[in-house]
């Protein structure tokens, strides 16, 4: 796959400025990282990445049709243009506009002021309104904001409004979903090749479906409500190639933390981030969503993962609307390309107070923590809870600190209570969490990821140290200004809950080989010795005895 680079535009990243023209001198990523951000990049981590490729090719004239990246193609189609180049400003037709209870009222206010009190939205089926941020609170203004959304949806006859009225019992609200980005995916609003805009920075999550999805403010949203279009500048694309089999102790969160730590919180500003490679192809949809979710933490405009059979399968039972995926051309120009050998990566955390303050989880094992939070669009999906449950199951122990579980949506909450966890003998995640001593899963919403009103469940109201599966850890993010937040994968969060310190999940996951689900292999040529004494949890002991007994029988048969 050929990848060439555009000549840097003035607004392009520092990477463009630092390129040397000679083919021999490729600036190493660590040098570039240091030039822009003051943080030193650990050499141990840099070694798993190939040096960033920088090549210069002469700019082609406008009449020559060059290949386009996925993002360029999506925007070209949405703006009805045959060819686009990064830097072009185009009017883009919007397929879906999403808003929620925090930014919705403001957007509605601007829409009415600019288009008129009696104006109608451009398409009542393309506006999706999802209350999710400040729901289960007694804050009057927060509750009023949901009422404002309801009034607007009634007046406009909005087709997709995931309403909530009974705050005391979320299950009593059949329409209510929860966290907007997870709800959009679960309800089939994310489709390959489309343009999805939302009044939330993590709208980029939907890029996992091979579409262009980005966050906008109230004013832009107000404009889209009226016209169904927005002026957007075509971003250049950074390509991240991840190859190799995903180790059993890593999750997509570790991958994106690795990337953000490498390019810094402004490394992808105004750019698109494209994720390709065999590792990405092996990720399920929710893992891909986690990857794209934190694109904004690197400053990225949008993230994309090419749609494939995994995507199509996921969408099968969720949408009947036709869609047409697009893919980057072989001759497309990328601003930079980063390559990863996944097998060499280790579990990571982002230390306070920045998502790019990357560190190895095992190097933070002396950091004592006060609580663990598993939730949000980043780390509160079914797959995230499944991962945490698997780790708790593998350890069989109880947590040492309060562990808060906030499922992203009603559907996730239901999965916690119904889906059997592989290798557990039919237990559900909720049972495993209960046995491990975690808090009861809370009502689905954004919860304490962004603090919120003072009575929000799991909000950090005192200076505490928290390991969290959320997306930001700037000062005061979860409530208290002096709170310390370590961003981590669900594996790392669960492991940390079990020890009371920031913990590498391999402390618990390497025991997987001894789990009841694993196969005992008999090597005929090997001498059958007495079984090794292993400390097992009581539930494993029964299986262990059965296996030992079978080994004894086999040995006798063999000897005879």
């Amino acid at each position: 796959m050929a990848s060439s680079l555009v000549s840097p535009s003035p607004i392009s990243s520092f990477i463009g400025n630092k390129k040397s023209l000679g083919s021999s001198a490729f600036p190493s990523t660590s040098q570039i990282a240091i030039q822009r951000c003051k943080k030193q990049v650990s050499k141990k981590i840099v070694s798993v990445m190939a040096p960033q490729q920088s090549e210069r090719k002469p700019a082609t004239t406008g009449s020559v049709k060059t290949g386009m990246t996925m993002t360029e193609k999506i925007l070209a189609r949405a703006s009805e243009k045959p060819q686009l180049t990064p830097g072009d400003n185009v009017w883009v037709n919007v397929d879906i506009l999403m808003t929620h209870d925090v930014c919705g009222p403001g957007s509605i206010g601007i829409f009415k002021k600019e288009f008129g009190e009696n104006a109608k939205v451009w398409d009542r089926e393309k506006v999706v309104i999802i209350p999710d941020h400040y729901i289960f609170t007694s804050d009057e203004r927060a509750n009023r904001n949901v009422d404002i959304l309801r009034d607007f949806c009634t007046e406009q006859n909005i087709k997709y409004f995931y309403d909530i009225k009974d705050l005391g019992n979320f299950k009593a609200n059949p329409d209510y979903k929860g966290v907007c980005h997870v709800a959009l995916a679960q309800e089939g609003h994310c489709r390959p090749g489309e343009v999805l805009l939302g009044t939330d920075s993590h709208t980029c999550t939907a890029g996992a479906f091979g579409q262009f999805a980005t966050g906008i403010g109230n004013t832009d949203a107000g404009f889209v409500l009226g016209t169904g279009k927005l002026l957007l500048k075509v971003p250049p694309t950074l390509r991240f190639v991840m190859d190799g089999e995903m180790p059993p102790y890593l999750l997509a969160k570790d991958l994106i933390l690795q990337i953000i730590g490498e390019i810094s919180v402004a490394g992808a500003t105004y750019k698109s981030m494209e994720f390709v490679g065999t590792t990405v192809e092996s990720l399920n949809m929710e893992e891909r969503m986690t990857l794209c979710n934190m694109v904004v933490e690197a400053g990225g405009k949008n993230g994309v993962v090419p749609a494939d059979s995994t995507t199509f399968k996921y969408l099968e039972d969720k949408t009947s609307l036709p869609y047409e995926p697009v893919y980057s051309d072989a001759q497309a120009s990328f601003l930079s390309e980063y390559r990863f050998d996944i097998s060499k990566l280790e579990p990571l955390v982002a230390k306070p107070h920045s998502p790019d303050n990357r560190a190895l989880a095992r190097e933070c094992k002396d950091v004592k923590i006060d609580r663990v939070y598993i939730g949000s669009c980043t780390g509160g999906k079914t797959e995230d809870f499944l991962a945490a449950a698997k780790l708790f199951l593998a350890s069989g122990k109880k947590v040492k600190v309060p562990t808060f579980l906030v499922p992203a949506t009603q559907k996730v909450w239901l999965d916690l209570y119904t889906l059997p966890v592989p290798g557990s003998g039919g237990k559900t995640m909720s049972q495993i969490f209960e046995e491990a001593g975690c808090d009861t899963p809370a009502s689905p919403s954004c919860g304490a990821c962004l603090g919120g009103p003072k009575d929000t469940y799991a909000r950090m109201n005192e200076p505490k140290v928290c390991v969290s599966t959320t997306n930001r850890n700037f000062p005061g993010r979860m409530g208290h200004k002096e709170g310390q937040i370590y961003l981590a994968s669900p594996y790392t969060a669960a492991a940390s809950a079990l020890t009371g310190y920031v913990t590498d999940p391999r402390e618990f996951l390497h025991n997987k080989r001894r789990s009841p689900n694993s196969v005992c292999r008999l090597d005929r040529s090997a001498r059958l010795t007495a079984p090794t004494v292993v400390r097992l949890a009581s539930k494993d002991r029964g299986v262990f005895l059965a296996v030992t007994w079978r080994l004894t029988l086999l040995r006798r048969a063999f000897e005879n």
């Binding site: 009017w91 403001g106 600019e114 203004r141 904001n145 920075s201 002026l231 105004y270 000062p475």
Partner: protein
């Protein structure tokens, strides 16, 4: 007023030779957008005289480097004088306006004012001088001077709105996060100006600034700090196209 500027830039700035951008769409967008306290933006030649008003005065003069003929020019000039509040790098939206205040709806006038009273309240206590004094609802600092990646984090438009509602007129930062920049221009609450050097390291909170508000397509302004000259420029082309 300021937002009508951004409206003007929709129609004027992006009619470039390279791409045919049809700008008939924004005609439904009423030009009488939120009235702000900004004065009309002007073009001014560089070598106008200026006198430092105080020993530590910072003077800003702006001029146009290239003015497409489609942009109307206004020859009246305006001087703007105010205190500056200096912050560091990566000031994210949670520091500009913490999430607990987002229940305030910016398009509601009373809540708009209240939002302003909480601007930059999320800054850590290491910032001894606060942007807004306790028991006050407006700031005495009209210019915020920032470092790199100002406004990173959330897409919440409450961030530039809070700064504007508090009384800030402009931000001069080394670089911006894209959604904050775009929101600043869309609302017209604060002018996001970009500096070529790290002014946040040269200035201290409380420095007095003079500045002329003259902005055209690509404007070069010079910031004079204690005799030294720094350049800062506002790339209006970046406006609305992030």
């Amino acid at each position: 007023m300021a937002a009508s500027l951004s409206h003007a830039s929709y129609s004027a700035t992006f009619i470039s030779s390279a791409s045919k951008v049809t700008v008939s769409q924004p005609s439904r967008f009423s030009p009488s957008f939120k009235a702000s306290t900004f004065s009309p933006l002007t073009v001014k030649p560089l070598n106008s005289t200026f006198t430092p008003h105080a020993r530590r005065a910072v003077t800003t003069i702006m001029r146009a480097t290239s003015t497409p003929s489609s942009i109307p020019s206004d020859t009246s000039t305006k001087t703007f004088h105010g205190l500056c509040y200096v912050v560091g790098d990566n000031i994210d939206t949670d520091q500009i306006i913490p999430a607990e205040y987002l229940t305030l709806v910016p398009s509601n006038p009373a809540e708009y004012e209240k939002l302003g009273s909480y601007a930059l309240i999320g800054l850590p206590s290491s910032y001894a001088m606060r942007f807004i004094e306790p028991n006050e609802s407006k700031t005495k600092y009209s210019i915020v001077i920032g470092g790199a990646n100002f406004g990173c984090g959330s897409s919440r438009e409450h961030a530039p709105v809070a700064l504007g509602a508090a009384g800030a007129k402009a931000v001069v930062a080394e670089s911006y996060a894209r959604i904050f920049f775009r929101n600043s221009v869309a609302t017209g609450e604060v002018y996001p100006l970009e500096s070529e050097v790290r002014i946040c390291e040269e200035c201290r909170t409380g420095d007095v600034e003079n500045r002329d508000d003259s902005i055209s397509v690509k404007v070069k302004c010079r910031v004079c700090i204690r005799g030294a000259l720094y350049s800062c420029f506002m790339n209006l082309y970046q406006v609305c196209s992030s």
